[in-house]
Amino acid sequence: MELNNDIKNRWHNSKVLLLAGSAGSFKLLFHAVKNFPADLNKTVIIIIHRKKNFFSEIEKLFAENSRMYLREISDKDKIDSNTIYIAPANYHTLLENEKQFSLDVSEAVWYSKPSIDVTFESAADVFKDKCTAVLLSGANQDGAEGLLKLRNNGSLTIVQDPADAEMKDMPAAAININAADYVLSSNQIFQLLQV
């Protein structure tokens, strides 16, 4: 399928890219991180479910393979362009305004902290139509409601085709509530993001 001009234009005009996934999304996220150009001129925010005491090397691995500056979010961090931000484990990541993150340790949502819903809903308030959000493979339904809110607020919302996802539940949940502007395979998503 050829990507149409609507999706290309809206992606082009986005200032912020939200990339979110759970089980089965790591390889896709890694591929994207590795291939973003240094001068993407957008802010990339990645939310990936993980265990709280899983002292993973995700940030290190991502940072070593990224041409963009990459950091794990700390409270009240400034939101810069040409930077990849990773939501830290055991916190929810919120957007205070277009320029600032804030963190939150409140209850897990869908057993998840970071929760994709929480960041998506906050981003919907702040970024509205300046935002593209991509929801990838995962085994629960986190992200669906937040993606719908993004869509209602004018963001471009893309969901990985469940047929193409390692874990279908998360993309399927979003599609079920009509949160997706577009349902695309991982290859089409990469093609759009040019990674």
Partner: protein, 279 residues
């Protein structure tokens, strides 16, 4: 989230300001320096749980004192764990306790202690380091209800067991249940640990210095405050610490203000452990 309405607006900033003003004028609690994103989420959550519209909520906040207590509990986040961020406790053990052991008495302030999990984690850490007998832990919070829980020191066994992994990663010997008296599903903090603790109400925003401490731990509280309020409370902490006393913030809460960077030396930049320097 479940039952979250998907309208495009929700609570507006103006409405949030209105509620903040009501709470300040009538109840004396000042939420104006709170991070707006989190505050909006918390208030929205209360409205959903109680099925309230904005004007219902405002009305209750003005007219119903009991409701306000409930509001206070819900709007302030009381999610906590024992040994949350185990590597922090490991760092304390390695970098701070050897220093504290040189003091004759060690007074510690757990600021924003919620239901006491952090205060008791510190008590356990001090006991394992042999410092418990000469130390005293003050836990404070603005929320009287959670302080009741903290004073009791009784947690469900299921909850305590969920902290077993944290405890293990913190590098302490034995298991977390060693520090509790267990009866059916209730795990009570051992009397010896409770002995040297005191829990009381203190509002970081409006109350003052009340003692001098060798260490202050205020973790995952600053995330709810805007930068200017963080600075105001850093000043309170600075004044509450003895010379070369330690300040511990959450793992994602660094000191950002240049003025305070000069007044605190970084002991551990990953866990945000600082030491007071200067006069």
């Amino acid at each position: 989230m479940m039952n979250e309405s998907t309208d495009t607006q929700g609570l507006t900033p103006v409405e949030i300001d209105e509620l903040v003003n009501v709470v300040k004028k009538i109840h004396g609690f000042d939420f104006s320096g709170y991070s707006k994103a989190s505050l909006k989420r918390r208030i929205t959550r209360i409205m959903q749980l109680k099925k309230l519209e904005f004007y219902d909520l405002k009305h209750l906040l003005i007219n119903d004192a009991a409701f306000f207590q409930h509001f206070l509990e819900e709007v302030t986040v009381n999610v906590t764990e024992m040994f949350r961020d185990p590597l922090f406790y490991k760092a304390l053990n390695a970098q701070v306790l050897p220093y504290l052991s040189t003091f004759q008495h060690v007074k510690i302030w757990s600021a924003g202690c919620s239901s006491g999990e952090e205060a008791y984690s510190l008590a356990i850490l001090l006991r394992e380091a042999g410092l418990h007998k000469k130390s005293f832990i003050y836990g404070t919070d603005i929320n009287t209800e959670v302080l009741k829980e903290a004073k009791k020191g009784i947690y469900s066994l299921r909850k305590i067991k969920s902290y077993a992994e944290n405890y293990q990663y913190s590098g302490l010997p034995g298991t977390i249940t060693d520090h509790f008296t267990i009866l059916y599903d209730a795990a009570t903090v051992q009397a010896e640990l409770k002995q040297n603790t005191l829990f009381s109400v203190h509002n970081l925003i409006s109350d003052n210095v009340f003692n001098e401490f060798q260490m202050i731990s205020c973790r995952n509280v600053f995330i709810y405050f805007e930068s200017h309020l963080q600075e105001k409370i850093l000043d309170l902490f600075y004044k509450s610490l003895c010379p070369l006393g330690f300040l511990c913030l959450g793992s994602k809460e660094a000191i950002r203000s240049d003025a305070f960077k000069r007044r605190f030396k970084t002991v551990n930049s990953k866990e945000n452990i600082y030491q007071k320097i200067g006069a």
